[in-house]
């Protein structure tokens, strides 16, 4: 047999190197000992996190910031089960992640061995696909298949479970030259006839609009999207997943639609006669009550996942394909017959001006000037000023996430990193770790609530360990703010288990890890405090005490149609 005699652990690292993996986020354990032994003198960078869930969130942060596959590593049993939340998060947001887990030796599988769990069974619904590798000979194939599956088509997490004796076994290793997944069909080109029909609908439309989502980022189609929007001169919304796919300051851009979306976005979605849906899934947080969503609109739906088309909203023109390629072809088709686009130009111009009026007359709640207390919106506006649309912002889940999404601008894709579909608290801090490793050149803000921050506190050690210059901004309202908002609005203000007392002293907390931290509670000192945090060469923990009872508006109540937004507090509070 040809090839170098190597053990499974070394072969795995060879395969990862072939996949151009730069960094692994992981946490060792009993059955991964052989792999960690191989890592000891390998060129691969391994970042030791403080909890496996955060290894996978960090891998996601890396993947979301770059578009490359993020890699995490955990041991069997509790190590593997700790990955679950983050795997589902990656699945919901279509993020390419490869998770490698150790498993008890093949002879012990099924015997309730120490630290044994049925990882293959448990992670089946949490992944795009998963593997249990019981023979070393199958390992290289499985690893390369895992990377192919994670990164291609609709991206997602893939898990490879590897028993200890497979790491230890030896064989003559020859790199695999091809992989074959006969059942994994990805259609990228887009049906030519459907693309022609789409162009026809666009020509006929008087009130078209673009509804673009995470698929734009996955396909790297931001430039094509902008060209398309400008060519048709249509209003455009991007979902929470796709902030930055259009520069926030673009004249055609009207922010995100949905539950906490902009007035203009939700009104335009309701009044449009043609939705051009690009890499989106008509999520319930976007559509509100589905039966009342976009009642006058025909729908062109482009997605690489055929199962998304027609799932929630029927498509008049379904196009299965890579949204970058499809947009390219659509742009071509439109360029070939500019006169056809002229025909409805006056109607479309009137539509644009109507949408612009909505946009002008209903900006996001901008009254954040309170002399006594820091308003959350004020905080986001100040971070926006410092970022100038260029910083990476990772967020956790809840009110701060919505205010950040509304008020911080992004000039490029992959700057806004958040847990969209799953809404997993504890995401923001570890995701920032992954993003900062991916983009050491970038200013990274990790905006978290006081709730989600406390779910991720152990990772302050990882940040300190690597002196990652992440600016952790805690929007501290002393509550689980979003749940409190719902209890206030829909449960007679019976605030049940949402008050977060005993928050640690941030200065002491950061100091305990060896970096700087402080608290700011005066609006007059907010800007200086943020600037000091950014000036600090290392990590910084800034605890921002904000007014505790602020609510996020606009808000579409659960089960409401998106044009039935509540724009602000029903009874304005009298300021004494």
């Amino acid at each position: 047999m040809s090839g170098k005699l190597m053990n499974g652990a070394r072969i795995l690292l060879e395969c990862l190197a072939r996949e151009k993996v730069e960094v692994i986020f992981g946490y060792p354990g009993g059955v991964t000992l052989p792999l960690y032994d191989a890592l000891y003198d390998d060129a691969m960078k391994h970042i030791l996190v403080r909890h496996e869930q955060n290894a996978c969130f960090a891998a996601e942060g890396f993947a979301r910031a770059t578009g490359k596959v993020g890699v995490c590593l955990a041991t069997s049993g509790p190590g593997a089960t700790n990955l679950i939340t983050a795997l589902v998060d990656a699945l919901m947001d279509s993020i390419p992640v490869v998770a490698i887990t150790g498993q008890v030796s093949t002879k012990l599988i099924g015997s309730d061995a120490f630290q044994e769990a049925d990882t293959f069974g448990i992670t089946r619904p949490c992944t795009k696909h998963n593997f249990l590798v019981k023979k070393l000979a199958d390992l290289p194939q499985a690893i390369h298949e895992a990377f192919h599956l994670a990164a291609s088509g609709r991206p997602g997490p893939v898990l490879v479970d590897i028993p200890k004796d497979v790491f230890q076994a030896e064989m003559h290793y020859t790199p695999v030259s091809s992989i074959h997944l006969p059942g994994y069909k990805v259609y990228t080109e887009g049906h030519a006839g459907q693309i022609r029909r789409a162009a026809q609908l666009i020509w006929e439309s008087e009130r078209p609009m673009v509804y673009a989502g995470g698929g734009i980022l996955a396909a790297g189609a931001s430039d094509e999207l902008r060209q398309f929007v400008e060519k048709v001169d249509t209003p455009a919304v991007t979902t929470l997943m796709a902030l930055g796919a259009m520069p926030s300051g673009h004249p055609n851009y009207i922010s995100m639609p949905g539950m906490h979306g902009s007035y203009a976005a939700n009104m335009a979605m309701t009044e449009t006669d043609l939705i051009i849906a690009l890499g989106v899934r008509f999520d319930d947080r976007v559509t509100g009550r589905l039966a009342a969503f976009a009642p006058h609109a025909k729908v062109i739906h482009v997605d690489i996942d055929p199962a998304e088309i027609g799932k929630n909203r029927a498509a008049d023109v379904p196009i299965v394909g890579d949204v970058k390629k499809v947009l390219d072809k659509l742009n071509e088709a439109l360029a070939e017959a500019p006169q056809k686009l002229e025909k409805n130009a006056p109607a479309r111009e009137a539509w644009r001006s109507r949408v612009n009026t909505w946009k002008r007359e209903h900006p996001y709640d901008a009254d954040f000037t309170s002399p006594q207390e820091i308003k959350p919106q004020h905080l986001m506006a100040e971070i926006d000023r410092l970022s100038g649309g260029e910083a990476i912002v990772t967020s956790d889940v809840g009110q701060h996430q919505m205010w950040a999404a509304q008020l911080i601008r992004f000039n490029h894709p992959r700057l806004w990193i958040n847990s969209g579909g799953l809404g997993a608290m504890g995401f923001g801090l570890p995701a920032a770790i992954g993003a900062q490793f991916a983009r050491p050149d970038k200013l990274v803000f990790s905006i978290v609530g006081d709730g989600g921050f406390q779910m991720a506190i152990p990772e302050l050690a990882t940040i300190a360990n690597h002196a990652l210059p992440i600016k952790i901004i805690i929007m501290n309202n002393g509550h689980l703010g979003m749940v409190r908002q719902w209890q206030e609005l829909f449960y007679n203000n019976r605030l049940s288990s949402v008050q977060l007392d005993s928050f640690p002293d941030p200065e002491k907390l950061a100091g305990a890890y060896g970096f700087k931290g402080s608290t700011v509670d005066s609006p007059l000192q907010l800007r200086a405090a943020l600037e000091a945090a950014v000036r600090e060469p290392g990590p910084y923990l800034l605890n921002v005490r904000v007014t505790p009872f602020e609510n996020v508006y606009p808000m579409v109540p659960a089960g409401g149609a998106i044009n039935e937004m509540v724009l602000g507090p029903v009874q304005p509070v009298e300021v004494a």
Partner: protein
């Protein structure tokens, strides 16, 4: 509403779990399920009957087609197809009605596969409704015990099997080249 789905899957551990998991995650109950190897030993055919809300039927087929181990998922509920089920039935008989049982079995195209002083084991194939009738008839002769295979089906339309082609992995030598050779 009952839906008949025929799947061609890779004969690998976990393939059935993925199909089953997709249904159980949506709370759909499987009425019957059969799995067996095809002519190609690396592939298996699954025939399954499942109770699915009409609005979800197309979505379920799409989701099944997305499974990496599934080469093809077809909805045969209303498609031209032959559907059959196998029934094994044990009936206790008295000395007097033995001949009548065999006569009845013959009418249903069933045959005896075991005979003892207690009674017979009978084998029948057919569509489920016909087997239901056969069971009813046999009940009248005495205690019975029944095992059904669940529906198996073969499509009468030749549907072309589309497979994904192999994907090349760059070899080490190429990735390590200094750019001169490329």
């Amino acid at each position: 509403m009952l839906q008949l789905i025929s799947l061609l899957v890779e004969n690998k551990p976990g393939a059935l779990m993925r199909v089953n998991g997709l249904l159980s995650a949506r709370g759909f109950n499987i009425e019957s399920l059969t799995v067996a190897r095809t002519l190609d030993p690396e592939l298996s055919r699954i025939s399954l009957v499942v109770d699915i809300e009409p609005a979800q039927r197309a979505q379920v087929i799409k989701q099944m087609n997305k499974l990496v181990n599934v080469l093809q998922a077809q909805d045969l509920t209303e498609a031209p197809a032959v559907r059959r089920e196998l029934l094994l039935l044990r009936v206790r008989s008295t000395q007097e009605n033995r001949a009548a049982i065999l006569k009845e079995a013959e009418i249903f195209g069933a045959r005896a596969v075991d005979s003892s002083t207690d009674g017979f084991a009978l084998e029948a194939t057919g569509d489920p409704e016909k087997l239901d009738e056969f069971i009813e008839v046999m009940k009248s002769y005495g205690d019975i015990e029944v095992t059904r295979s669940g529906l198996v089906a073969v499509s009468l339309e030749a549907k072309k099997l589309k497979l994904a082609p192999p994907v090349k992995k760059d070899l080490e030598v190429e990735s390590q080249s200094d750019g001169v050779l490329k």
